[in-house]
Amino acid sequence: MAGSAIAPPLLHLRDVTKSFGPVAAVRGVSLPLYPGEAHALVGENGAGKSTLVKMLAGVHRPDAGHVELDGRPVALADPAAARAAGIAVIHQEPTLFPDLTVAENIFMGRQPTGRLGRIDRAAMEGAAARLFARLGVALDPGRQARGLSIADQQLTEIAKALSVDARVFVMDEPTAALSGIEAERLFSVTRGLCERGAAVLFISHRFEEVFALCRRVTVLRDGRLVSTGLVADVTVDTVVRRMVGREVSALYPREPGAGAARGEVVLDVRGLGRRGVFEDISFTVRAGEIVALAGLVGAGRSEVVRAVFGVDRHDAGEVRVRGRRLPPGSPAAAVAAGLALVPEDRRRQGLVMELSVQRNAALTRLRHLARLGLLSARRERRFAAEWAGRLRVRHGGLGDPVGTLSGGNQQKLVLAKWLATGPRVLIVDEPTRGIDVGSKAEVHRIISRLAAEGLAVLMVSSELPEVLGMADRVLVMREGRITAELPRAEATEESVMFAATGQREVRA
């Protein structure tokens, strides 16, 4: 990293403030971004990180304060203006055009043109392919974006940002959906950008990434700047304390053998297959057991759990819950049988963004909240308040649209909504994606406790430490098949990665 502290900041946020009605999301934050270095921004869920990003992206305008570029104030009135000012943004939630091709998504509005101003598709797809090569992923630029997994969406977003000839790169949790390999590729690309003098603002809840990539770190709490300084001067513990304002108990609070009191087989999946996606998937989960489904991005883990839950149909095999066969393709039947699925894409699958926090929370429990078939607003509110409280969801009001919550808080609400059903089998797909350390520990504790109380848990996670720390048993998938089943004692980074990639020498 070639940055020197003496160089003037490339971009400087000065005393910016932004409120949404009564919620003060960002209050008087100043932040310099220096050329040639990556600057980390950390904070709890809802601390105001994404709001800050959106002000740089021209999505929100600050209520007070301004942004300086090369020492001169700039008005970032809209996203186009931000782009023109040389700021490229990777938003926390990927927003792609599902009907267009991946390449078009990347180059929308900047497509290479040929004769008579017509778009040169070949050139465009070539350029996209080169970008993916740089990121080390094999994504087809000519395919439709519809149906891309969250990770592939995120990679497309990254490629989009990289394709812009920008001087400032703002990355809001770009790695949340990525596994170690892709993240590592992103870092090397990012380092390359820094070497060429770009300034990078990097947001992540994973501290190892912050420490590996960034030179400076700024901590936000409740929209206020708590500290800013060189990464070299701090430790993970100090950063966490500043973020949370208290000590955080250990992550992965699961002692070996915690799941010893295992009960009968609750979930029994036999020979499950879906043509072109996965095949011959068989496993069981017992009461009180946490089984992790590990693998690289795109291995088909999410597809498997979706088929188990019935939102996708399977072509072969069967799913039994406590011996009773589930009718295929019916989530309602799965719910009735005591299954709960916390899906990986909270925006599309987990929540109804326009509906209020309260309505979302109650969505899975409507029949139980009704008396004589009629719902009472009071009962519903009490129920929602209770569950939002248990998972410490930060929200402006129960009547606010859930879209106004920060990403992490949305994730907690999805968990709440499913835990509220009192399931026998809990399936969680990337349960802690985008969740801050404090809440992550909380989520882990909740899952462990539920397991201890006899719940069967199936967990899909791309975070290896989480898999190793939580699971009693690890199933590893590669290209749509289960390639290994490792009991807790045998599950190590090495063994899991080997099963996931089929190669020995991979670092996660």
Binding site: K18, S19, F20, G21, K54, V59, H60, D63, D78, H91, E93, F309, V311, P331, A332, A334, A336, L341, P343, R347, R348, Q349, G350, L351, V352, M353, E354, L355, S356, Q358, R359, L363, T364, L366, L369, A370, G373, L374, L375, A377, R381, R382, A384, A385, E386, G389, R390, H395, G397, G399, P401, G403, T404, G407, Q410, L419, G422, I446, E453, G454
Partner: protein, 369 residues
Amino acid sequence: MAHDTLYASRPRRARRARRAAGPGPLRPLLRWDGAVGLALLLVALGAALLVDGFATAGNVRFLLLDAVAVALVALPMTLVVVTGEIDLSVASALGLCSAVMGRLWVAGLPLELIVVLAVALGAVLGAVNGLFVTAFALPSLAVTIGTLAAYRGLAFVVLGDDAVADFPFEWTDAVAGTLPGGAVPWAMLLTALLAVAFGVLLHGTPFGRGLYAMGNNAEAAAFAGIRVARAKFWLFVASGATSGLAGVFWTLRYASARADNGQGLELSVVAAVLLGGVSIFGGRGTLPGVFFGVLLLATLRNALQLADVPADTLDIVTGSLLIASVVVPNAIARARARPATGRAAPAGEPTAPPRQERPEREDTEDAPA
């Protein structure tokens, strides 16, 4: 369940959160339905004062009778549109049921049985729509444009250019009969009761809650275990059955079973539903709003007709009202949002879901130059 640790309640937090929630779900109800209801009241009052012959029992009776068919069909249509679908075939289903009714009457069946059969036929027609939309996953707009033509065509196949007009006097008279006082027709009272039933279904039951969820995000609703396709299917059936009922009403009201009965009614229904504040993209709208919307349009039309306003002006007024019904509240919302600077951006952008071209929640940037 055994998870009592997590499942223990935390009353204090709950109470605080409740206070923060404010009027919550009541807010839109007060805002939009109130506005349409108020507009209805004002138009009625104004007409009573300014237009000769408006405030007579006879006129109110005619006004309400004219509104019955649209009101009936608008009830299930509200639910259908809330789920993000639309049923444009209602008027044709009405016509087909009317035609079949005439054919059966000529064949000598008792009218009681015919009424039941007509409603059942409507339900079947609705089921056909529902099947295409849910099982074959076709867009309802396209499907019901197709059945709009098909059902109307079948009506002509059934009855051709004949009209059956000799329904018994007791029946045709009863349909237009009123409650004591002579102003409120029985038919409208029944429609209002039906409206209450649909209103409770939509606003007070888990089923209705699910409709809003699927209207906003069908995928998330399916993930939550809501039977999206099944609900939609039954809504189309309800829409068809109600169209059948409206067909029975229409036939007896005008004492004339014809294949072209109710032609073009679908646009009036859609207009009333939209005026009532239902979002055409689904997920938003209330039943009282729609009911008031139907009455508002009917009252306005009646008053303007009495005031000898020509038909083309009436069309212009109807159209402008429809436009104003979406533009004005939007403008007000934005004006209200401006002083509180923060409201400039829509909820949750960019985290908001795909279909969010809603009024009221839009941001101000990027208006055309």
